[in-house]
């Protein structure tokens, strides 16, 4: 009987011990004279179950064990060798029946965790490169039309329709055009880009290649944050393999078409996730935001027409071209089409990647997938959509997760991060952090953000120190309004979102020395 053992090499899996578990497994298997092949796969994103060991034995399919500690390994190996694994304390059953995974609708993340991330033959065997093969039979306009049919909107945060963006670049005149993948993933509470790049890098490469064919671009850059060294290694290896196998290069798939790809590292700047700051950074400049217009689609990288899309947007493209835009659009609701890879993080028992059709309610994600808080205390606040997203209170959690519904609550879905806080959180401190972060990461181009965030931080320092007056809160609201209305980009424009939602939804945390908060709030 051949036995294949899968242990993940994903950042989070390793962060909770997968490397030590793999070493222990090798040792225990040696002692037990077990014959097996070890595959270091990517993660499926069920981080509550990591370190996860999957074992493929004969006809049983893949069996899951987790979360496995080093101490569990010897008995696990014995159970496999001698029998009785069904009774092992880590046994979860066949991978396909783990509820956490089974109840998801995995399209973009369907291959993650299946095999070794840079194994191209495995990628192909699992349906990879079908999208590119289809795209090579289509005209550029037909590819763009397929994306329009899918209803795909950008997954980076702004949710702009991808088909329309591509159309603009296709229609733009230019000898040289570029595809830029935004892999800056700066939002706290998000890791879907990282997980995908570490587990299924070819899907992104394929999506970018299709994008190149669609708009007539021959060169792509992946702008990757420097906090992701594992993703860097994985992408660079995958690009080398794709190049060697003819999936990238001067004559890809012998089609006569050219597409080349390069990974460029960021240097620890949140604002470089904003697309125009990112383009400046790629050009070797300070990551300062550019005024729009001109749109990057018209004058982007080095002044040329450029597609800038998030990792998940570009990865989705490969399945849309493989299975059709209409198939993708079957999922989701309203103008939120397809699936959304949510990322459950913070104080949650079972965090990780939850890919579901748009419209699932937040409370279901937090309770049924997350299993409540890790601390066991009640949920008090949930920040959805990253550092620029709103803090929701526990009575707002039945909101369906769509772009429209979140906007209706004055929040945003953004890149899909969900950060759970228990009742020990001090919301004034969270509001202070939001202003502090904006002050630290502002590119400095416009005054409302550069100065406003510093003033906002000062006021919130007084709130946190319990020395604020009701006038301070009035001042804070005015600052927020100025930032919202007069900032050049969403950094300054949206920082008021977490601040104001914290004040509105948790007024009890914003006590003032003259106890006039109620009055203050009413007069604004």
């Amino acid at each position: 009987m051949t036995i294949t053992v899968y242990i993940s090499q994903d950042t989070t899996a390793v962060a909770v011990g997968a490397e030590r578990v793999a070493t222990a497994f090798v040792q225990a298997a040696l002692n037990a004279e077990l014959n097996y092949t070890l595959v270091r796969n990517g993660s499926r994103g069920a981080f509550g179950l990591e370190p996860l060991i999957e074992i493929e034995m004969g006809a049983q399919g893949r069996l899951a064990f987790g979360p496995v500690s080093v101490a569990d390994v010897p008995s696990l190996v014995t159970a496999i060798t001698v029998g009785g694994y069904e009774r092992h304390s880590n046994y979860l059953g066949p991978v396909s029946t783990i509820p956490w995974l089974e109840n998801q609708t995995r399209i973009t993340f369907k291959r993650c965790g299946e095999g070794a991330p840079t194994d191209l033959a495995n990628y192909r065997a699992l349906g990879g490169y079908r999208g590119l093969e289809h795209a090579l039979t289509l005209s550029p306009q037909a590819i763009v039309d397929e994306i329009k049919v899918s209803g795909l909107r950008g997954r980076g945060g702004a949710a702009f329709p991808t088909g329309i963006k591509w159309q603009t670049v296709l229609d733009a005149q230019g000898e040289q055009k570029y595809i830029v993948c935004n892999a800056d993933e700066g939002d706290s509470g998000t890791f879907a880009d990282r997980l995908l790049m570490e587990a299924d890098p070819y899907q992104l490469i394929e999506g970018m290649t299709i994008s190149g064919l669609a708009v007539g671009a021959t060169k792509g850059f992946i702008y990757l944050r420097s906090e992701y060294p594992r993703a860097q290694k994985m992408l660079e290896r995958a690009i080398d393999v794709a190049m060697a196998e003819g999936y990238l290069g001067a004559d890809l798939c012998r089609s006569g078409q050219r597409f080349e790809l390069e990974v460029r590292m960021g240097a620890g700047s949140y604002i470089c996730g904003e697309e125009t700051a990112l383009l400046n950074s790629l050009e070797g400049k300070r990551g300062v935001v550019r005024a729009k217009p001109p749109l990057p689609a018209i004058e982007g990288l080095f002044g040329k027409p450029t597609v800038v899309n998030n990792v998940l947007t570009l990865a989705s493209v490969s399945s849309i071209l493989a299975d059709g835009g209409a198939e993708y659009a079957r999922h989701g609701v309203d103008r939120s089409k397809g699936t959304m890879p949510l990322q459950l993080a913070g104080n949650t028992k079972n965090g990780g990647l939850v890919e579901v059709p748009f419209g699932v309610s937040l409370t279901i994600v937090i309770n049924e997938w997350g299993g409540g808080t890790r601390s066991g205390r009640p949920v008090r606040a949930v920040q959805v959509g990253g550092p620029l997203g709103a803090y929701l209170s526990s009575d707002q959690l039945d909101v369906p997760l769509t772009y429209e519904a979140l906007a209706g609550l004055g929040g945003m879905l953004g890149h899909g991060g969900i950060v759970v806080f228990d009742d020990t959180v001090d919301m004034a401190k969270q509001a202070h952090f939001a202003m502090d972060f904006c002050a630290k990461e502002s590119c400095g181009k416009c005054t409302p953000c550069r100065i406003g965030a510093v003033r906002g931080r000062e006021v919130l320092e007084r709130v946190v120190d319990s020395t604020a007056s009701s006038n301070d809160l009035i001042l804070l609201r005015e600052l927020c309004e100025t930032m919202e209305q007069a900032s050049l980009c969403a950094m300054g424009g949206l920082t008021p979102l977490p601040v104001k939602s914290a004040m509105d939804n948790f007024p009890e945390d914003f006590g003032v020395i003259d106890n006039q908060y109620e009055v203050a709030a009413c007069t604004v």
């Binding site: 990591e50 998000t190 050009e283 300070r286």
Partner: protein, 166 residues
């Protein structure tokens, strides 16, 4: 040896300049090559020497002020020598939700080094970082290129002992 004690220093200075010049020349030919160039210089030398920004500027046909502007814009780049190793504590929201505020407040006491300073004996620098993409299993700490999850003040010293090379 003693009478020649300034020689190695001179030789070192010369080799620093050579590293900068060679790296800059290599990257100046690629479009937007300044960031990759700065990354490589910092990886080689541990910092980007202010004294040689001019060499970089020349290679890229920029002014020294422009290069200085770029170097100082990005949090990753340093212009003074630093320890070769680093410990980064994630201080962003998802980690705050799982306990990083306590870690942030207590780490200096536990490790004996302040943020943005180099440990007196252990050859690493302590830094804050804002998200390592390990937000489902925070608080997160990065030691050199490895990320650790669910770290608290009790588990940190042992981790550091194991992961930091003395």
């Amino acid at each position: 040896m003693l009478s020649n004690h300034s020689l190695p220093v001179k030789a070192m200075k010369a080799s620093v300049e050579k590293t900068v010049e060679q790296t800059a020349a290599k990257h100046a030919v690629s479009q937007g090559g300044l960031l990759p160039c700065l990354h490589e210089i910092q990886a080689e030398l541990g910092y980007i020497p202010n004294a040689h920004l001019e060499n970089i500027a020349t290679a890229f046909s920029l002014s020294t002020a422009e290069v200085h502007g770029v170097v100082t814009f990005y949090h990753d780049f340093r212009t003074s020598p630093s320890a070769p190793q680093s410990i980064q504590i994630c201080c962003a929201e998802a980690c705050q939700a799982s306990g990083s505020r306590e870690l942030e407040a207590g780490v200096a006491g536990v490790l004996g080094v302040e943020f943005d300073e180099t440990h007196p004996t252990d050859n690493y620098r302590l830094e804050r970082v804002y998200c390592l993409g390990n937000c489902a299993c925070g608080p997160s700490v990065r030691i050199n290129d490895d990320v650790y999850g669910r770290v608290d003040l009790a588990s940190l010293p042992q981790l550091v002992t194991e992961a930091v090379q003395s």
